[in-house]
């Protein structure tokens, strides 16, 4: 009977491991990565998974073992031990060094994702909006949709001024983010009401939109999922699943409804063909939805 408790703990832990083991096969895992730095992120995730998995098995294993081995019974005497300095040092320094290694391993990828230039580790230089990019888009969060604005010619003359002001000659779309494969895309993220968070699971990217600020984001997709057919004027999907955009910061009742779609065109030409038609279409049929000015010119600096 006493031993059963150790077995109960063992069973629960084995079930936990089993769930992790079958999840990738069940499709319950990280969605497909399409970002240039995504492989690094996934690699770091796997690194932590291995390290934590090791300590999980080690500690739970010891616990289950002692629960069974040292269950009270006739003839078993508890030992009078109050501590052991060597052991304390071992289990302080070993986890500490592994953890510090894990910590430092994150720094280059974080820098890459957040425009931090690191030549030497310190001092670090923050590049902000000056990083070179092939396409600029402003994304404005509001209750409850994302409004995207694309400049003619992909790169505006003065990106931070452009991002902060409205321009009726731009292409305005709702909940649709377009870019092309291998483009270095710069997003100027804004909000007009509450905090939203622009979440692109396939790009391993997420950023809160902060009222009163323009937040920079960047990514480079390494895969395409659409092709524009200029004759039929439809976007043909070439991927299997659509890539989606979600909101990750509670922004009111319909927070869950801020669903957008990510379209990565095969090539720059393909994007530009689509862009020209979309802009023409907008002039003919719709009045563009202007974006209000939300930041008094903070130039893309957080």
């Amino acid at each position: 009977m006493q031993k059963c408790w150790g077995l109960l703990f063992a069973a629960v832990n084995i079930a936990a491991i089993a769930l992790f083991a079958i999840s990738p096969a069940m499709g319950w895992w990280l969605p497909r990565n399409i970002a240039s730095y995504g492989a690094d992120v996934d690699h770091l995730f796997n690194l932590i998974l291995i390290a934590t998995g090791f300590f999980f098995v080690l500690t739970q294993g010891i616990l289950v073992y002692v629960m069974i081995r040292f269950a009270a019974r006739d003839g078993l005497k508890a030992r009078n031990i109050h501590g052991n300095t060597t052991l304390e040092l071992v289990w302080t320094l070993v986890p500490a060094s592994i953890l510090i290694y894990i910590g430092f391993a994150q720094i280059p990828t974080w820098a890459k994702m957040k425009y931090i230039e690191i030549d030497t580790l310190f001092p670090v230089t923050y590049k902000g909006s000056n990083i070179e990019s092939d396409l600029h888009v402003t994304v404005l969060g509001r209750q409850w949709e994302w409004r995207m604005r694309y400049p003619q010619g992909n790169i505006p003359a003065e990106p931070s001024v452009w991002a902060d002001s409205g321009n009726l000659n731009d292409l305005h779309l709702v909940n649709e983010l377009h870019a092309w494969k291998d483009a270095r895309v710069k997003i100027h993220l804004k909000t007009q009401d509450v905090i939203h968070s622009f979440f692109l699971p396939n790009l391993r990217l997420k950023q809160d939109a902060l009222p009163g600020k323009i937040m920079p984001m960047w990514f480079q997709p390494i895969e395409a999922n659409v092709r524009y057919n200029p004759r039929t004027k439809v976007l043909e999907e070439i991927g299997s699943l659509p890539w989606e955009i979600a909101c990750a910061e509670l922004c009111g009742g319909n927070h869950y409804r801020m669903r957008g779609k990510l379209f990565i065109h095969e090539s720059k030409q393909d994007y530009e063909l689509w862009f020209a038609d979309a802009l023409k279409n907008q002039r003919l049929h719709e009045s563009p939805r202007p974006q209000p000015i939300v930041a008094a010119g903070n130039g893309g600096q957080p």
Binding site: V41, H82, G252
Partner: protein, 615 residues
């Protein structure tokens, strides 16, 4: 509840049980009000889970309670109120009051050999200011617009904008649900951001301010009592780990709480008199409504809030760590392994706890360079957590473990805390957290540390000290059944949340099924809801056990577990004034596994037979 008064004139019923200044009664009051809120918070959680499992279905039976205009369904706004109130209730009305209020009050004087707290009147007040908080938070469901709905984190500008905040007055937005039975109808407090961000948010803020005042009074009392009222011979390094944990917690609380109180007051001012601490210079537009320009910073709230709330998460677990340590030593019949490292690691956790708040804000728009510093500090906090885990395991190594209900719950704490601590590392790593932030991975983490760890620690503590509180033993078989089912259903409910997080499932979603990439996670959501319902039902066993045992449990003697600390020297239950004679302490609390007729020596025992003292 039998409570004999051995001291002076017999006080009346009211001053004995209601407005009592006796630390034990106050502790028990915290215990029972916590139990009520545990039930309320649990029901709110089950409603959240029902919605997640069957987002498009009309809810059977309970659909009827919802206003006609919602069509038998939960509205998205109501859903946001549910999870906001669930977390707020569980954190501020269950876990903190149970750990610091119930355990802190009941145990500190008994375990250090004092007759009562340093300031008994203040102590009584610290409980009674909870009542305005209780009443305000519960009535907030019935105010115009409904309860607070900005999450337990209450981030502006979702939370702080009110009609007063410079908004042009206007009619309420069409389609806003309003509770049919509202009290306090005043349009001028409606918020354009969310129905619950009006009067409901104001109630939430006021209620938490009261909670904060109560906790502050408690902390001052604990610190003073522990520093000044220890029995002769009880030097600091002879204090049981429970007392150490409560001491460190009290210091944490005293240092961090003022920041939360200030933040709550600033937000309250934003709402009531249209200040703009958290309203940005450019103002905001909600549809066609515009606020006046502000001059503040939404991010300021997050810094203030997490400067309190990160230490607060340790407030919510350190006492459980102390309790679990004492229980493990008692039932392992073995001295605590590494007493000093245990104390130092708790102090380190508390110290580091003040410089890691930014790990909640990696994606918030804070300067990313700060993220790296916060990441390294956060990752270091896992080191003292690991030290504690290994010391618990080493205490069990070579022990003779007695599987009482209290011990099982304590062992579950150790096992589950490992999971919660390890999942923290994923989110501490900045590039990985970009993906995991605000997904179900965090929800998994929270519930492994708070439900599966803290609550197991609380169950362990209640079962362990129940004989001291009520002079009766709890029913062991029932306790074990409750434990086993909670352990199984708890894991079935919370473990799959990690997988949901890895799949990218955002938290606080009313209906995840509209996303294609989340579609095949839905079976997991349903599975977790069923497990959660069973987990909730299991808790009824605990309540039955408590009430049955209070009245019909077998009588407990002074020291039913053969433990060492001073409270087991007092009668069960201890009279007013606790001890017939203040004990004199001559050794540390963990003298187990001794040779001789008895395998342990109490801290106050006078015999030096076969004694090995370790200081």
């Amino acid at each position: 509840m039998s409570h004999n008064d051995s001291h002076g004139t017999k006080p009346g019923f009211l001053s004995t049980y209601l407005f009592s200044e006796d630390h034990k009664i106050i502790g028990i009051q915290f215990l029972f009000s916590g139990l009520i809120f545990f039930a309320i918070g649990g029901i709110l959680a089950l409603l959240v889970r029902l919605q997640l499992a069957w987002p498009d279905g009309n809810l059977p039976y309970i659909g009827r309670w919802f206003p006609q205009s919602w069509g038998g369904k939960m509205s998205p706004e109501f859903y946001t109120m549910l999870f906001t109130m669930h977390a707020s209730v569980m954190i501020f009305f269950v876990i903190i009051p149970w750990l610091t209020g119930a355990f802190g009050n009941f145990l500190i004087p008994l375990m250090i050999g004092a007759r009562d707290m340093a300031f008994p009147k203040l102590n009584m007040l610290s409980y009674w200011v909870m009542w305005p908080a209780f009443i305000i938070i519960m009535s907030s469901f019935f105010v115009d617009g409904g309860a607070a709905s900005s999450g337990w984190t209450g981030y502006p500008t979702l939370s702080n904008v009110g009609a007063e905040a410079g908004l042009e007055k206007s009619l309420p937005k069409a389609g806003d649900p309003s509770t049919p039975y509202s009290i306090l109808k005043d349009d001028s407090y409606n918020s354009p951001a969310a129905p619950g961000a009006g009067m409901g948010q104001i109630f939430w803020l006021v209620s938490l301010i009261f909670v904060g005042i109560g906790s502050m009074m408690g902390s001052v009392n604990y610190i003073t009592t522990i520093l000044n009222m220890r029995a002769p011979g009880m030097n600091l390094m002879r204090m049981p780990l429970t007392v150490w944990s409560l001491f460190i917690t009290a210091i944490l609380q005293a240092l961090a709480l003022p920041v939360l109180t200030v933040a709550l007051m600033l937000q309250l001012l934003d709402k009531l008199i249209a200040t703009s601490f958290f309203l940005p210079p450019g103002g905001l537009s909600f549809g066609n409504w515009h606020t006046t320009p502000g001059g503040g910073q939404p991010l300021l709230w997050q810094h203030l809030f997490w400067f309190y709330s990160h230490p607060a998460v340790y407030i919510m677990i350190l006492p459980a760590m102390g309790v679990v340590s004492d229980i493990i030593a008692t039932f392992a019949r073995k001295p605590m392994f590494g007493y000093k490292p245990m104390v130092f690691s708790m102090a380190t956790i508390a110290g580091l706890g003040f410089i890691v708040w930014g790990h909640h804000m990696f994606q918030s728009g804070m300067d990313p360079r700060l993220g790296t510093g916060f990441m390294l500090a956060t990752i270091l906090i896992a080191v003292p957590s690991a030290i504690k885990t290994f010391n618990w395991l080493a205490t069990l190594w070579g022990a003779g473990i007695l599987y009482s209900t209290a011990m099982l719950n304590a062992l579950a704490f150790v096992s589950m805390f490992v999971i919660g601590g390890l999942s923290g590392i994923f989110m501490a790593a900045t590039p990985v957290d970009v993906y995991f932030h605000d997904t179900y991975f965090i929800v998994a983490h929270i519930h492994y540390v708070l439900f599966m760890s803290s609550i197991f620690g609380i169950f362990a503590g209640i079962t362990f000290w129940f004989p001291k509180m009520f002079g009766k033993l709890m029913n062991e078989p029932l306790g074990k059944i409750h434990f086993a089912l909670t352990f199984i259903f708890g894991n079935l409910t919370f473990f799959p949340m990690h997988i949901l997080g890895i799949g990218g499932h955002p938290r606080r979603y009313y209906d995840p099924t509209i996303y294609q990439y989340l579609e095949n996670l839905q079976p997991l959501n349903q599975f977790m809801t069923i497990s959660a319902i069973l987990l909730g039902l299991t808790q009824i066993l605990f309540v039955i056990n408590i009430f049955y045992s209070v009245f019909f449990g077998p009588k407990a003697d002074k020291n039913p577990w053969n433990s060492n600390t001073l409270e087991w020297d007092a009668p069960s239950p201890p009279p007013h004034g606790n001890f017939e004679q203040i004990p004199i302490v001559s050794r540390g609390p963990y003298e187990y596994a001794l040779e001789g007729p008895s395998d342990h020596l109490m801290q106050s025992a006078t015999t030096g037979e076969g004694e090995k003292t370790h200081e």
